[in-house]
């Protein structure tokens, strides 16, 4: 009888709190978005599942002794986001960017979204009930980098309590890029601009592709050492792929290793979606600022492309500026698609891949600045 009572008192029904129930709904929504809507399922599925697991009453899966507690060490130490960045580096082809290096500047301009939303977060402090420290603001701003591992890395260092909301916002908006970007791109460009055809890119040789990651790392060492964990692991992955002599390592880095780490990282991020941390007015602010960051980043990229067009003899289609936010390869595909609407023979995909991967570098650099200035 006592056992029966103690079993009843250990049921979820008996112990549920409203917050936990609500967070589980959030988890289910993330699963729904991942599975039915195709929103970045590789990340949002494990994140959503982790959110459910970590909010189960009594079980303590995200508390000491539970599996999610141990997996979180991989984020706390930075190991998981850095290994994912290595894998992404191994998957990245810098060829289109090396063929037209000017487009790197588009990847720079689009980072304006990061700093604008950082300012926005600070401005929200004037709203009663909202309180963001400078660290919080920087961690929120990095959503505008449109790069998952970078956002998780920075948030885990500066504002671990907001990590869950920030990661969810970053991946959700990356999935929403095809909805967020086109109206902004159309509003800022004329039909003629969208029709601009670009010169075919030259083929980039193997030596250039091998030298580039080393050069990138070297520049980062000289100018911004705080960005070198991110840029270093990215360059390592890229070098392993480009050099052609360690194919088995490169293949493992971009397949099994990144898959294993993705499962663990997703679950661990989900474990930060607790009611205490998430069910706050702050979270709405984060979601709003994230959307603003993406929009501003897109606009800044397009405007930068228009400015460059003024000074360049070789025409640049301003649509590829939007790809500068990163969100690889989604943003580049969006640029291509919007371009095709105006000119069915205008394939911008490869031209947009340049600013697209430059955006990854740009956000890593911005992350380095934030990590080095804000302590």
């Amino acid at each position: 009888m006592e056992n029966l009572l103690s079993l009843w008192q250990s049921t979820g029904l008996y112990n549920f709190t409203g917050g936990q129930a609500f967070m589980m709904v959030i988890g289910f929504v993330l699963l729904f978005l991942a599975i039915k809507k195709g929103f970045e399922p590789l990340l949002l599925l494990p994140i959503g599942f982790g959110a459910i697991l970590s909010n189960i009453p009594v079980a303590g899966i995200a508390e000491e002794g539970g599996i999610l507690y141990y997996l979180y060490f991989g984020i706390k130490t930075g190991i998981f986001p850095l290994l994912i960045f290595m894998g992404v580096g191994a998957m990245t082809d810098f060829g289109p960017m090396l063929a037209n290096p000017k487009t790197l500047l588009l990847g720079a301009a689009a980072q304006f979204g990061i700093f604008a939303s950082l300012l926005g977060a600070l401005a929200l402090n004037f709203v009663p009930g909202l309180e963001f420290t400078l660290k919080d603001a920087a961690a929120i701003g990095i959503i505008g980098g449109a790069d998952g591992p970078t956002a998780i890395y920075v948030a885990s260092k500066l504002s671990p309590d907001l990590l869950g909301a920030i990661a969810v916002a970053a991946y959700s908006y990356m999935a929403l890029v095809p909805l967020i970007q086109p109206p902004i791109m159309r509003a800022l460009t004329t039909e003629d601009e969208r029709k601009i055809e670009m010169q075919q890119l030259r083929r980039v040789g193997k030596t250039e592709k091998i030298v580039f990651p080393l050069m990138l790392l070297f520049l980062s060492i000289l100018l911004l050492p705080s960005a070198t964990p991110l840029i270093g692991m990215f360059a390592l992955g890229n070098l392993m792929n480009a050099c052609g002599v360690v194919d088995r390592l490169s293949q493992t880095a971009q397949n099994e290793l990144i898959n294993i780490v993705t499962i663990f990282l997703g679950l661990a991020v989900g474990s930060k979606l607790s009611a205490d941390a998430f069910l706050q007015f702050k979270t709405l602010g984060i979601l709003a600022l994230g959307a603003i960051a993406f929009a501003i980043g897109t606009a800044a990229g397009v405007i930068m492309a228009k400015i460059m067009n003024k000074f360049s003899s070789i025409p640049i289609n301003p649509l590829i500026g939007a790809a500068g936010v990163s969100a690889v390869p989604m943003a580049a595909r969006v640029a291509n698609k919007v371009g095709l609407e105006s000119n069915p023979h205008n394939f911008l995909l490869m031209h947009a891949m340049g600013p697209n991967v430059a955006g990854v570098i740009g956000s890593a650099v911005a992350a380095g600045v934030l990590l080095s200035l804000i302590k």
């Binding site: 000017k102 790197l104 990138l216 911004l224 650099v365």
Partner: protein, 78 residues
């Protein structure tokens, strides 16, 4: 304006400045290195690309056939 806000603005300027400086330096370095590499260490690979494109046809059609088959196989049975 609060102190926090002003330091936020400073971070914005310093940050965007660094991002632009960094990527602009990367543009310059890429241009220099690319021209050096193309002049002094041209890839044999690229030089002979045109040649291969002519002779490669037979190979390609075999490979295309196999590729198609293997893809069908993998999509179906993976």
């Amino acid at each position: 304006m609060t102190e926090q806000m002003s330091s936020g603005i400073e971070i914005m300027f310093v940050g965007m400045g660094t991002v632009f400086l960094f990527l602009a330096m990367l543009v310059v370095t890429i241009n220099i290195l690319s021209s050096l590499i193309q002049r002094y260490f041209p890839d044999a690979h690229l030089l002979s690309a045109a040649a291969r494109e002519v002779t490669g046809d037979t190979d390609k059609s075999i490979i295309a056939a196999i590729t198609g088959a293997v893809h069908q196989y993998r999509n179906k049975y993976k």
